[in-house]
């Protein structure tokens, strides 16, 4: 098994998961800023051109942070997804956080402050950037209300969803997407940030 990794928030999700689960696997760095991920041979490894990707011993390559995370978690018992009802609950909250907050936030960044970097890498919609930032803000407020009084996003257990939200929001917050109006989310993410695994990948 080999992990293709790089700088950036999605690779950090998996690097942090590895620390949480004390998982030790070979890691090959890909030069994201130099565009190595948008050229062969990497585009044959992951035709999405994104990082991270996990090459299994069978030769199958798993991309997308959700899939890489779930597989590593299940095979190494990191306990961040769970099984049965817990797995379903993790997938549900992942989707909520991804669709209501992270995707609009990430696309607002790619179509706005990050446009120079991303315009030749994907279809960008610059006119959508302000609206997407507003949408992400609405999503954060919605999540803030839902998690009031909770320690973690899924009640009573630290999960992949907390780790994912932390790594992505922590990254985009540096580019003008603050957490004002979402104090519960802010406090929750600060708790994730204090974990040794998050500090090891900061």
């Amino acid at each position: 098994m080999k992990l293709y990794s790089s700088i950036g928030p999605n690779p950090r999700v998996i690097l942090t998961l590895l620390k949480e689960g004390n998982i030790d696997i070979p890691i090959q760095e890909v030069d994201l800023l130099g565009g190595e991920n948008r050229r062969e041979p990497y585009t044959s490894i992951n035709p999405g051109g994104q990082l991270p990707a996990l090459e299994l011993d069978s030769g199958l390559v798993i991309a997308e942070v959700l899939a890489v995370g779930q597989y590593l978690d299940a095979t190494h018992g990191a306990g961040l997804f769970g099984e049965g009802e817990q797995l379903a609950e993790t997938l549900m909250w992942y989707q909520r956080v991804q669709l209501e907050i992270i995707e609009p936030m990430a696309n607002s960044f790619r179509y706005g402050p990050g446009l120079e970097t991303f315009k030749d890498r994907m279809h960008c919609i610059p006119e959508a950037a302000p609206g997407l930032a507003e949408k992400a803000k609405g999503g954060l407020k919605w999540l803030d209300g839902l998690i009031a009084g909770r320690e973690w996003i899924i009640p009573d257990r630290y999960s992949f969803v907390d780790l994912y939200a932390y790594c992505l929001i922590d990254f985009f917050a540096k580019f003008g997407q603050p957490l004002d109006g979402a104090p519960n989310v802010e406090a929750l993410l600060a708790r994730v940030g204090q974990r040794p695994a998050a500090q090891a990948t900061a």
Copy 2:
């Protein structure tokens, strides 16, 4: 176990999965057009306000089509997700299809032809509608190249991803998002549409 369902493409994904797996569970209809899903008591059942949702015997409610589908599949052996490497592969392709095609297509619909229905239900970004339709078109072309020569999206097995892509694209195609330029996808979706399960929910 009880499924909350309604008209619409996402509920259809789960209704079709039930048919594929010969799964028989109680179904409660929610009046989507009447907005019953945006009012109590439904918003306490699923604070996302969307359909479908699955209430488990434990009292836990699972929302989001990915999570509902994976749970029903795993507990009833429908075989549309698989386990281990296959589950990771299914999650990966689901994310690719969702993020590159379905989400931009769905949002282009909600912010464009569907704006009157959706403007009071979610944060809409009308100025993004044309760009999102273009993005979805690019995603369809990308997928079209990747699946050339394949029977299904994941090589050699019919999966949840085919079923999901079929139900969503079939719905949005009726609202001005045609499949021109993606003949492999068009042929693949036609194969899904010929399956008895898809015909039973048409």
